[in-house]
Amino acid sequence: MNEQFLSIALESSPGFIAFSLDQNYCYTSFTKSHLVTMKKIWGIDIGLGMSLSKLLQELNKTDYHKAVRNFDRALVGESFSEVEEYGDNLLARKIWENRYDPIRDNDGRIIGIVVISIEVSNQSNRLQSVEETNQRLALAVKAANIGIWEWNLLTNQAIWSDEILAIFNLTEPSQTFNYEQYLPYIHPEDVEQLQENINRSLQTGQDYSSEHRVIPPDGKEKWLSACGKILTEQGKPVKMIGTIVDITGRKRMEEEASQAYSLLQAAVNSTADGLLVVNTDGRISIYNNRFLAIFGFAEDEARNQPDEVLLSKAVSKIQEPEKFLARVRELYAKPHDESNDFMELTNGRILHRYSKPQILAGEVVGRVWSFRDITEQQRAEASLLKSEQLYRTLTDNMLEFINLVDIHGKIIYLSPSTKQILGENYLDHIGTSIFSLVHAEDLEGALGKFNQLIIEQKAVKAELRYLKESGGYIWLETNGNPIVNENGSVETIVLASREITERKRNEEKILEQNSKLSSIAETLKAKNEQLEEFTQIVSHNLRSPVSNILSLLDFYEKSDDEVEKKNFIRMLRESSSKMLSHLHELNEVLKIKQNKDIERQWIQFSDSLENVKQQLSVLITSTQAVIVSDFTSAPQIHYPNIYLESILINLLSNALKYRHPDKTPEIHFLTSETEGGIQMTIRDNGLGINLKKYGHHLFKLRKTFHNHPESRGIGLFMIKNQIEALGGEINIFSEENNGTTFTVKFGK
């Protein structure tokens, strides 16, 4: 009955808990309040026979050790009370006053324990609110991922919350985990600072705080922010509690932000444009040195100016400030607009102004202004335009024909002067190939020059005929000049041409005149050679007997011997007749040269040869010569009779004179019709002539090549003159001892 009452009393007492365990820490009984509390705190359902130590071992190592220690004290017979904390985590723990008593059997042996707990944290409102605060704090700490630590300075034991364990990637909290064991995890570079901070805090009692890097067992470096507070008892530090937060992410962001900022700084200052960023409230957030330079500020001056002064000063440097300000107001009314235009400064510089809103999270927070000084560019463009206009005017007004073609010869531009060649609609040729205008005969040359120009990138010159719109051709001298682009290849070609038709015509005339002159010169040269020959004849052939005559006359005068005198007279006669014969020969030669247009008549070769044979009959008979003739191919010729006879008589008498002493002379006459007219060959079997040695003298006057009494050296010279005077020629083929063959081409 007592037991039951007790039981009911216990069950109905709020905050009163009791349970009993056997020697193996297994439940032998428990109050309903214990069941509820265990469920509430740990979320487990307990039952009789279940091992409490096992349950706690799985739930909380710290609590397990503490509880088992207490149970063991009671199991050895001690009865005691402890005010203790138990709970599922550091901040949800509750404070209990626990009474431990051994249970003995009738023999007094200890068979279990009984534990009676009263939750003292629930006993006052103050404690209640502390717990609530604690719970809220616990939530916050959990949410913020803040680790909590507690360091007992007396026992040098430390407790880490799960968050800290997570930071170090550790699963089991070590009971003996303390300050010394923590140190190896600290980044070597940060150890000293950390120790210093902690020591200072211990010595002065001030709060401790530190940001340091740690290297957990997994090796991934982390940044931690730690702070702690010293708790004292009777003025002596006994405990240090604090927090640890992983700030690795924040540190990285800070670093990235600082990198991004330095990049922005560098970019802003390295650009050639002046930059100014103004907040929506009119404050300047950024400007660069270039901006200052463009608006003529000194750096120091700008730094010390309030924003509104700087801006108004800048505005004062603008040529038309009202217009600019109007534009600014307009932009502020439409903050999302971009603006892109030009402005002029009072110092004459021209700026390209570009403005764009600065947007942060979709909100316009300011406006970026960039100013580019384009004065030089504008000037260059202006002067380029001017020079282009100048050249355009020049080409448009030039008499020369200017055109511009691409590298395929396609016409891009034609100067108005081209009208003269291509007619009123000359512009229709733009886009067509220039080569379609070139004369077919000049096309190959033109293409060759064009390719040379493109490959060598050098100016070329060509004289070409171009098709005229009105028909016919015009001669142009064309100069091609390549225009090379920035890649180093020819882009376009300027062709400048001028008419040279007149010059070409003159050139042709000159060429014609030249060829006439050279033929005249040839004739003159031949005449001159003949004259020289005459000089030679006069010099040699006439002077020779005269000098003999003079010598002989001298002898004659000095001689008294009649016989001798008679001999001199004979020699004088001989010399005189020689001179006469020379004069006669000269006369004949002159006659030939003068009688170019001597009368021609139709002559039968056979008749003429018969006449000649009669004239030379004595010689023919005495030499027993055999004369063979074949005139069937060309029996007759239109030629001066006396010339033909002269030719035949000379060649026949030559053949007879220079007969071979051991052979019966045989002389063949043969005529034939050839392209160049009638030809006659005279072949003998006589002595022949060494042509290598004498060939060049052969047809000269008074040249003989045989030591022969009858050789006078006049014949061949004569007939050569006769034949050539009528447009023919005579040639010789001969070998010593093997006869001679003369070929006479009579000409047309």
């Binding site: 030679q536 052939n541 020779s544 000098s547 003999n548 010598s551 002989l552 045989h706 030591n707």
Partner: protein, 129 residues
């Protein structure tokens, strides 16, 4: 007394020249050649016989077969074989300056003599050494 060679196809010149040389007793012996070829054959044959080679050679320009110029060309080649050196006098009725200039091109040609040749000129030439 020197040996004189006359190379000329003109028999009357051969006669008059010989007579002048003999009358003035200017030579020990006179060699007669009708053209350059005959002279070349003689010189080649007697190249080693110094006593048979001439001391002076009178050379006509216009001759049949081998004329004066042709003789000079061949003589250049023959010269080294000869055991005697002698001067050559060109003798011609030519008064053509081109002939005279051409004659100067040959080192062997010591002088150019225009016909008719006088006794004084002959004496002068044959006494010069």
């Amino acid at each position: 007394m020197p040996i004189v060679a006359l190379v000329d196809d003109d028999s009357i010149f051969q006669f008059t020249a010989t007579r002048l040389i003999e009358s003035a007793k200017l030579a020990q012996n006179i060699l007669h050649f009708e053209n350059g070829n005959e002279a070349l054959i003689y010189l080649e044959k007697n190249a080693a016989n110094t006593e048979l080679l001439p001391d002076f050679l009178f050379l006509d320009i216009n001759m049949p077969i081998v004329d004066g110029w042709m003789f000079l060309e061949d003589f250049e080649k023959l010269k080294t074989k000869l055991t005697k050196e002698f001067p050559i006098y060109m003798v011609s009725s030519s008064i053509d300056p081109r002939d005279m200039n051409r004659a100067r091109e040959f080192a062997e040609v010591k002088d150019f003599v225009i016909k008719p040749v006088t006794i004084e000129r002959l004496t002068e030439l044959l006494n010069s050494n």
